[in-house]
Amino acid sequence: MFHLALKMLMGDRAKYIMLVGGLTFAALLMTQQNAVFQGLLSWTTSHLRNMRASIWVVEAHVDYANETKPLRDTDVNRVRSVKGVDFAVPMFQGILKAKDSDGADKQIMLIGLHGATLFGRPPQMLAGSLQQLRLPNTVVIDELGVQRLSAKGRPPIKIGDTFEINDREARIVGICRTERHFFGYPYVFSSYDQALQYAPRQRKMLSVILAEPKPGAAIADVARAIQRETGLKAYTSEEFAKVTVDYIWKNTGIPMSFMTTIILGFIVGVAVSGQTFFSFVLENLRHLGALKAMGASTWMLARMLLLQAFTVGMIGYGMGVGLAALFGFAVLPVGQPPFLLEASSMIKTAVAIVVMCCFSAFLGIRKVARLEPAIVFRG
């Protein structure tokens, strides 16, 4: 009987297409929005992955990784003096104004690395030499920087080209690859001393202290020791990532905004699939009554309806997630919007689609269970 149930479903083209379309749309919306949200969340901690330090020491009132509250220069030595710290280096980070070769202003994320160690260096150099950051007025920019700092209609900027940061010359000595920063600005790396010259002068200029524990020392224990002895906040990279994500969840409208769209996708899916499937059942009520009269049990009809509901659910899910993945393939090379399609997102969408299918099937089964087969004798 089940092959006939599928033929009954697919034979009603209009309803079948509407059911699959509704579920596809719902699955696409939920998966795509979830993936964009996850991508955005991953951006909030990309800074930590780009620097790859074990311990981050920040000012006591800093709430998340992308926030900067300056420290005193002497704090570096205080951190270095904590037992278990192998080394600690200063790092500058700040959003500065740069001018491209056309003179247009662009925002950049300037990172000043400790000159001697270049600790916190970009994860992958594509061209040029990081060591040349020790020369005056030199910078390494990332791929987004190449894109943003190139003038329209001209060849992209390259090693050896110059641009301005805060009216000071910056000569490109390397191109690197980084993960996109949460704020969306290109990374520009320089030495710490050089960064202090680019940045507007303030009383305190040190943004972050990056530290490493001695071999064999537990990272978390060392971080706790730094916090205890200096009064600064010290996080392991994982802790800082968690704190950052928690901050975004609790203090911004971003999750609510995405959740609203995801919930809307779910509601649209439930409404379209439920309504369409119920109307499909109503239109076939007479035939279902005839089947009941001919000896089909309510359980048999319920299984037929479940099969029909889950068939359109599976097709809609596959198409929706497939389209979301295609969206990802399209936007990932461009770099935005952020997109991170994890297995957990697909599982959540699958659960939502299962709920929709169960709801739709339930409406139909309830109707069929109450159906008197004698309906077929009414003219």
Binding site: K7, M8, G11, A290, K292, G295, P373, A374, F377, R378
Partner: protein
Amino acid sequence: MSVPFKAPASTPSSGTPTAVRVRGVTKTFGTGDSRTVALKGVDFETREGELHLVVGPSGCGKTTLLSVVAGTLDWDAGEIDVLGTRLNGMSKAAVTAFRGRHIGFIFQQFNLIPTLTCVENVSVPLLLNGVHRHRAEQTAAELLQRVGLGDKGRKRPTELSGGQQQRVAIARALSHEPRLIICDEPTSALDRDTGHHIMDLLSTAARAPGRCVIIVTHDPRTYGYADRITEMEDGRVRQVLEGDALRHYVDQHT
């Protein structure tokens, strides 16, 4: 006066086993002001090998009687025995299973599933009885051949005329070789010639050993096919006609 479709070649004798026995059945719909008593202590009996017509004006309780005999509708009081099985006290699931095994249905509106082919429609009762799909479709194709629609097996019901659809419905009703075939106004939506053809098929089906056909109808053109006619009026059996009385009744009404 028009000629009735056809008189039966032979009629079952009174010694033939009873296929359906209904005793004192009552059925009420609704409550309060909207309460309607559809069956008022109906007694009804039909024998194996018989083509039995139930006739009467609209609202007299014919279809309600048919529904309770088929086990598709609960009744309030009385006893119903179908093919030697007492329906009283049986669970709904048991009645459904009994129906699936032993009763075939032919409906006024055919009730063929429009998205399935004729072969698939005819195979439904077999599939419900656990017959393998391939075997069920083979049997369905043979039955369609028997009702003169051998070449229409892969067509959908909507591609056929009303008469052809009713023949498909007959093939479906016969597919699992039921002992009781219940028909609700099988000719009312058909023209005269097609009605003849359908009644010929039903008459032949009724002659199969151990089988009987009960037809609820308004259509006097079918009376000539009956072995027995039960006339109903206002929820009661007015008269049961057979033999000379039946012939006289047929002459009067056709």
